[in-house]
Amino acid sequence: MTADAPGALDLGKLFAARLHAARARPYLATALFALRPVESRAVPTMGVDRYWRCYVSPAFVDRTPPAELAAVWVHEVSHLLRDHHGRSERYAREHRLTGPAERLRMNIAADCEINDDVYGDGLAHPEDCVTPHRLGLREGELMEDYLRQFRLGPDLERLAWLDCGSGADGLDRGWELGPDGAHGLSEQERDAIRFRVAQGIKGAPGSAPQGWRRWAEEVLHPPQPWRQLLGSALRSAISGPGAGEDYHYGRPARRSAGLPRVVLPSLRRRPPRVCVVVDTSGSVSDAELGSALLEVAAISRAVGGRRDLVSVLSCDAAAQTVQPVCRTEGIELVGGGGTDLRTGFARALRTRPDVVVVLTDGQTPWPAERPACRTVVGLFPRTGGSYDENDPAYRPDAPPAWARVVTIGSATG
């Protein structure tokens, strides 16, 4: 296996390093073995393309110790598993970024996302690898977050040799084999590998670090795009029977004059009345409330509720006054104590709304009976810890089944 000719690729060393990587990270073994090494003198170190080919420089293999080479294997496969090429493409399109310098920035940001927790524990730390720490950034964030936080400057110029291939930043390289080259994987095969790895991590969560477990969670259950979900829950609540625009036979249709023997329904519009109940107890942060409230107000206005038909009610243990949102200044939220949303519901129902939207962290008693209107609950998730110091066994009820529940998180989509 050892290379005889000078400068030839030392496959024995490369495969020994992969074996070590697969032993150190058993949950990545499937993905590691699916990578196809291709000898290339154009790549400075090791690089991947989106078709799961791994381009290897023979000189790099020669000068790198096997333990570090194993770390590079894991690093390259991480680019592919985390879909850095697809995410780079999307980021570039959204922010209209062009040019190789921006792609280098994406490569660096993707490296930061990988490198903060991939090494150690059996894998050597490669020399001068990019870490968030070196850029003066916080650890544990995503590529997109890092991209917003740094610019290329003189101190980053020495990283210009860095090139993990199109698999890391989405920009096709001249030395890559492209979609029609030998041994590329199809999209479905790539999905299947990612899925298998995620399943393996979920099946034996003890061995994988936090970052990989979070990744597996997202592959199997992508985060909810709560803004869209809240909007669609609200829209479907508003446009249901009894509110909004719909046909009915109560009044003759305009077409009736032309069709004397035919009975036609007519279109009638009834703008819905929306009441937003905001949980202002101490356990909900102002930032959370602010963002969610803005969404609700914007959505409900957009779907045809006239501005005077949207009202907001803040509620802790007692309901405060109802305010319309047609004022141009902000809505004043009063409260800060414990929570009892039942009073909020009762107060909101007195305005005879078509829809009640409740924004809460769910640590409250709920009304025992279904109210006479549609209900959308925007829930701020709370995990861990006890909710009540005096009674550690206390757990609040989950939102009732008659409400449409949207979990509001930091993830946007």
């Binding site: 390093a17 070590h20 032993r23 090494p37 059996g122 050597a124 446009s239 949207v406 979990t407």
Partner: protein, 417 residues
């Protein structure tokens, strides 16, 4: 420029000549060519329509859903009827009540619209219900009866009519179109996206011409057997996935697994197999029928079904064909070792060694190390080490090098603060 224009287009002669020139320009603009190009989306749509399953295309407005439907109708040789749902009234689909001479005796008939009458008279056709999401709720309700029960007023659509619907995704829908889980379960959901290269090249004058899949009559019985085996074997292993109502807001209105949607999946696998479609096409269809998670799992199990059977390999190690991909190759070798463990016999053990040697000689050696270690541990006392094992020396040295790397890494990791 003005002088040039005045020679060809006399400015003092408005009207007909001007329009004639405009027509010439329009003809020039329409003069485009096509080129063959594989189109996964269109192939998936064709298969689902051929399999007579109601398809729901989800896509932003203006990305070529209608153009795709036109192409599909040509390919299947079906006349296309497009109905824009948002400009119709519910009675256009449920039938218009027409008051006759004596309603008490004759009843009030529900008269169908003209396009439905024409469709029924033709007996075959492709009905495209566009803009489902911008129609008022009552119109949507009437349309769903049309899709699911194939009834328009007093008429019933003949079996030769295939139905495709299109809707805008919830993020861009202006009002409350949302499928309830029982309705969503009846559709094959296809996400329709535009391909940037195709659009740019098309605007440059060359549109793609998809080669559509054709069913091969020779393969039909095999396709049915394969589809039945694929779905049944999978559901035996994962009984929890037979029926799982979507929980949580994000999966409402999408595909989810149920006996009904598994039956649709089975049908789609059979059609894709008979047409010899790529896995990418099947992936779109299966995930659009039972949802992303169960769909991906089924596809992963299909990949494993394609692998050679361990018993066949053990029977003839010399003629064994091992898969190219490293991870699949390791799965096959693991399967072989597991088969030997289940029924440990001397001849099988030797055959497994021969297979490992073959794998070692035809591909990456690191894949062989773990199965070889496991196989060695299965040795009985009276079994001699086969001569073939000498040829695995490369794997042994590879394993040693990996061990050395591990020790080194542990050393450096320990030295780090």
């Amino acid at each position: 420029m003005p002088s040039y224009a005045s020679t060809t287009l006399p400015a003092d002669q408005p009207g007909a000549p001007q329009l004639a020139v405009a027509d010439t320009l329009l003809t020039l603009l329409r003069d485009t060519t096509t080129e063959p190009r594989a189109d996964v989306q269109l192939e998936a749509l064709t298969l689902a329509v051929a399999a007579d399953l109601p398809v729901l295309l989800w896509g932003e407005p203006g990305i070529g859903k209608t153009a795709a439907l036109t192409q599909l109708a040509t390919a299947l040789d079906l006349p296309l009827t497009t109905v824009i749902a948002s400009v119709h009234e519910p009675s256009d689909f449920s039938g218009l009540p027409v008051v006759g001479d004596d309603p008490a005796v004759q009843g009030v008939p529900m008269a169908p619209p003209d396009w439905a009458v024409r469709l029924v008279r033709a007996g075959r056709g492709l009905l495209f219900l566009d803009e489902l999401s911008t129609a008022p709720p009552a119109v949507q309700a009437a349309l769903l009866r049309l899709v699911l029960e194939r009834r328009i007023g007093a008429l019933r659509l003949p079996p030769g009519v295939r139905i495709v619907a299109a809707a805008n995704p919830r993020s861009s829908a202006a009002d409350g179109w949302e499928l309830s889980p029982p309705l969503a379960n009846r559709f094959v959901h296809l996400q329709w996206e535009h391909d940037h290269d195709v659009v740019v090249r098309g605007l440059g004058g060359t549109w793609p011409r998809a080669t559509l899949p054709a069913l091969d009559p020779e393969r039909l019985p095999g396709a049915v057997a394969f589809a039945r085996r694929a779905v049944c074997e999978f559901l035996v292993a994962r009984p929890g996935l037979v029926h799982r109502l979507p929980n949580g807001e994000s999966r409402r209105g999408g595909a989810w697994p149920s006996p009904r949607s598994w039956e649709a999946t089975l049908r789609l696998i059979a059609f894709a197999t008979a047409a010899g479609s790529a896995r990418d096409v099947l992936s779109l269809l299966v995930r659009g029928t039972v949802g992303d998670g169960p769909g991906l799992e089924l596809l992963a199990s299909l990949d494993r079904m394609d692998l050679p059977d361990p018993e066949t390999l053990l029977a003839d190690p010399a003629g064994a064909e091992l898969p190219e991909r490293g991870d699949l190759r390791q799965a096959v070798l693991d399967g072989v070792v597991a088969a030997v463990r289940r029924r440990p016999e001397r001849a099988r053990w030797d055959a497994a060694w021969a297979l490992l040697v073959r794998a070692m000689e035809t591909g990456a050696p690191d894949v062989v190390v773990v199965p070889a270690t496991t196989l060695a541990s299965l040795r009985r006392e009276d079994w001699d080490v086969p001569a073939a094992i000498e040829r695995l020396a490369g794997a042994v040295s590879l394993s040693r090098r990996a061990d050395a790397a591990a020790r080194l890494a542990a050393g450096t990791a320990g030295a780090r603060p």
